[in-house]
Amino acid sequence: MPTVYVNDKPVEIGTAKLNCVQAAELAGAFLPHYCWHEALSVVASCRMCLVEMGDLKDGKVTMQPKVLPGCQTPVKDGTVIVTGDYDKRDRALPVLPYDPAYTKTAPLGARAKKAQADTLEGLLINHPLDCPVCDKAGECKLQDFSYKYGRSESRMVDLKNTPANKPGLSSKITLFTDRCIMCTRCVRFTREISGTAELQVVGRGHHEEIDTFPGRPLENKLAGNVVDLCPVGALGSKDFLYKQRVWYLKTTDGVCNGCSTGCSTYVDTNKDIVYRLRARYNPKAQGHFMCDDGRYGYHHANSGERFVRPVVKTEGRFKPVPWSVLLPQLKLDFQTAANQNAMSTVAVLSPFLTVEEAFLLGSYFKSLSPHIRLVLGPVPVIGADDKYPKNVKGESIEPVKFTIRAEKAPNRVGVEEVLKALQGEVIPFAKVTGEALAALWFAGGYPNPAHLDALVPPAWKTPALLVAQDLLPTVVTASAKYILPATTGFEKDGTFVNHAGYAQTFGRSARPPVEVRSELQLAYDLLDRKGLAQAANVRKELAAKVAYFS
């Protein structure tokens, strides 16, 4: 088995092709780096991951006389890596037989440590050190590494370069040019992942800057990722700029509900307000990145238009009604409808519901009468799948590295599987729009009401009893008798199944507005279930009952 030694610690790498950064990670050692990113090409230019390297052969370690960039140097059997943290190694491990001539001139790790400190001194030479007003402060790699690997004082007494900021870089992104450390991750991203190549390096030496070509701003649907990629505070998202200090934010693992790709995300909230979404690395879902539609697609959660309490239509006007009054009324209404005309009673489960919610709500209606039909809510499909990278003409090129799907719903597959399990078939919404229904329960949750409005035919006959549960006003809620507030994808936990059948569970990152009951809680109430409405319990139940989810 090929073995690599990191600070004397042997680690087996198997058949994997690794560089020193990855090998060190396997051994539990962290190599700081800026320019290297797993998804991008290697440029080895930031010089932060410098290590000392050698070869263990015939019981002797031959060290190379100079430091090497770990990101660019592949490891093989017998490779010896000595990082700048060698003095923090596990001293219980036996020391490798290093060449005494090498250790005589400087202790092991000292060369790498000095080189890293030198690099940081260099990076800070023209850095404005304006952390107090920088959005990145608190999650900035330049701060973190300077603290951990740098020197406490600068020897630079001259004036710093002060290139002008570039707020016009993009409609959504601004560039604080002076904070840039020229790792070129953003440039490589636009060339290798989005393929749109808006960003470039202009100038030379210490007057280098990231810039766009005049008249061609950074506008592509993946552009927001450059903000995530930027290890310092140079690229800022205008959407998030100056909204929050990052240490106030609470981060929860989420799943984007923008399309059927189902990107894994980090949801950053403070006091139940969502401030920012970031991509969470998940090779099974989308990889490292996410699209701007998803990234900036959280504003519906903070919208002032949202339904925040249940209302009932009386005398042509919607009036608030307390849940304690509403729930028995709803139960009675639907029980009556099921008894009188079950064939004409329909429950619509939208592809924005989690599988747990769909399962419990579906179970409730099927418990009223097996003849009540469960219908898959309208699935918005906008255009065609948008694949990246693109070439100069805007055509997508192989190999595809990121896809924004046309199906703008996160959980069609999951809801369909629930429907198949509960009634054996999936009935599309379009099939029931022509019927004059006695009662309809519409569990929506559409973040973009326009998507739903487009899918409801104008000739749609309003059912006699219409209960619409949604986030924002739509044509369905307009004609409803009862409007129930829905919860956003951030205000509940549960499971979405993406286009490829990959199920992802996510957590609740914010509490819904006070008078909003989550769909799952509502289902509990309707079913007269006792105890807390917990998605995890429902999930277990679902797994036991439905083979697809076991």
Binding site: L50, K66, D118, M156
Partner: protein
């Protein structure tokens, strides 16, 4: 007996740049002979055995480089000719290209035949308009005479030479920077390995050779190895890794000399001989203070510093071969462009000028070089404005020491070259720097007290 120039033999002869004139002097006979009688491998072996070391700066054995190409490579192999002669005070390639382009072109043809390349890219720096035009005319003559193109001289050997004009950056002379620039990209040197011989221009095996090296190839194939080895410096028998320095060498003289000139002499002439005999001595009857032995990036020689173990001799007497400058703390022979600095010139001004050059030319890819060259410029700028501090000298040496491919902190050697003049100047002329800092004297060349950030 005075040395008879070979590489420069035809300079200033009538018709020296014309095919007709070159052929009258026996031009392209070596090439024709090689095509007819020699296998490509024979040419490689002969160049390798001649001991020819690259004239571009690093002094890598030329024939050895050629053998690094993959054997029996099915696809194309390219030759890139590095004529991006941007090292300050260097102009030997320019003279060859302007006045005797066919000698270089024959070298290219021989090299291409040897490495089985059917395409050579001649990368001429933008500033060399005359060279470009002279080469353009010469290449046109060769196509007209069917010495380039397909089936040259009925041998079945095809070769095209593409002239490419650079866009004006020092870094384009770094071999992988040149390749990137040739491919139409920003001239950011590539990470090695893979070396160009394995994966170079357009991701194909590529050899990058200097103009003067290729002119030497012509002469080696014309006059033989015995002739070549009869000139220059044999390897030091005490050092098995020393490849010696055979052959003629073009030295360019610049700076404070009476007669700035490009001369061809056997490798290994001393600086003193070069300046006194060929350059007419230091100008205006002054004395030399420092000499730059081979392009700015090689560092400085202190003319008055005695050589250890050689009585009466000073660093002025070091031989200009591949080992001489290194023995007194310089980086190497470099491009053999000797720049003389007279005793009335302030080393601070010299150093500021050097730092300005390298900070302007750093490509900006690697942090240590990008920020280090800029920082050194700001410090030297402050020094010459009389605002220096004693600790600045130590910072300069520290920065000079830590940037470069030798400590391992950068991708290419530009910053070795940026650090070397700084640290040699301060180590060798520290007293002068300290005196200037102490007196707070402003340089007479310092312009208005514009702050360094304005550069």
């Amino acid at each position: 007996m005075p040395y008879e120039p070979v590489l420069l033999a035809r300079i200033n002869k009538p018709n020296s740049g014309k095919l007709e004139g070159y052929r009258a002097d026996g031009g392209y006979e070596a090439f024709a002979r090689a095509l007819k009688d020699k296998k490509p491998l024979d040419v490689v072996t002969q160049v390798k055995d001649s001991g020819l070391r690259g004239r571009g700066g690093a002094g890598f054995p030329c024939g050895l480089k050629w053998t690094f190409l993959p054997k029996d490579h099915p696809g194309p192999i390219y030759l890139c000719v590095n004529a991006d002669e941007s090292e300050p005070c260097t102009y030997n390639n320019r003279i060859l290209m302007e006045k005797d382009p066919h000698q270089v072109l024959e070298g290219i043809m021989l090299a291409c035949y040897a490495i089985r390349s059917q395409k050579a890219f001649f990368y001429v720096r933008y500033e060399y308009g005359d060279s470009f035009r002279s080469l353009e005319a010469a290449v046109a003559e060769l196509y007209a005479a069917k010495l380039l193109g397909t089936n040259i001289l009925g041998s079945g050997f095809d070769l095209d030479i593409v002239l490419h004009r650079g866009a004006g950056a020092y870094i384009c002379g770094e071999e992988t920077g040149l390749i990137e620039s040739l491919e139409g990209k920003r001239a950011w040197p590539r990470i090695k390995p893979p070396f160009p011989a394995i994966e170079g221009a357009f991701r194909k095996p590529t050899i990058v050779n200097n103009v003067e090296t290729l002119a030497c190839v012509t002469q080696i194939m014309k006059n033989g190895n015995d002739w070549f080895k009869s000139i220059g410096v044999p390897p030091n028998p005490a050092n098995p890794r020393d490849a010696g320095g055979y052959g003629p060498k073009l030295y360019t003289l610049a700076g404070h000399v009476e007669k700035p000139v490009c001369v061809e002499v056997p490798m290994g002439i001393t600086i003193r001989d070069l300046v006194e005999k060929h350059g007419g001595g230091v100008w205006k009857g002054r004395k030399a203070k420092a000499v730059n032995p081979g392009g700015l990036s090689m560092g400085f020689v202190d003319v008055n510093a005695p050589l250890r173990g050689a009585d009466g001799k000073t660093e002025y007497d070091i031989p200009l071969d591949f080992n001489g400058p290194g023995s007194v703390g310089c980086l190497g022979l470099g491009t053999a462009a000797v720049t003389v600095i007279d005793d009335q010139t302030s080393m601070i001004d010299v150093l500021h000028n050097v730092c300005q050059f390298f900070s302007h030319e750093s490509c900006g890819q690697c942090t240590p070089c990008r920020e280090g060259t800029g920082w050194m410029l700001k410090i030297t700028d402050r020094l010459r404005r009389g605002l220096g501090r004693r600790e600045d000298l130590d910072i300069l040496i520290d920065v000079g020491d830590r940037i470069g491919i030798m400590p391992g902190t950068t991708i290419c050697g530009l910053s070795d070259g940026a650090g070397w003049p700084v640290k040699t100047a301060i180590r060798k002329f520290r007293a002068e720097f300290e005196a200037a800092i102490k007196s707070g004297a402003k340089s007479k060349y310092a312009k208005a007290l514009a702050m360094a950030g304005a550069h």
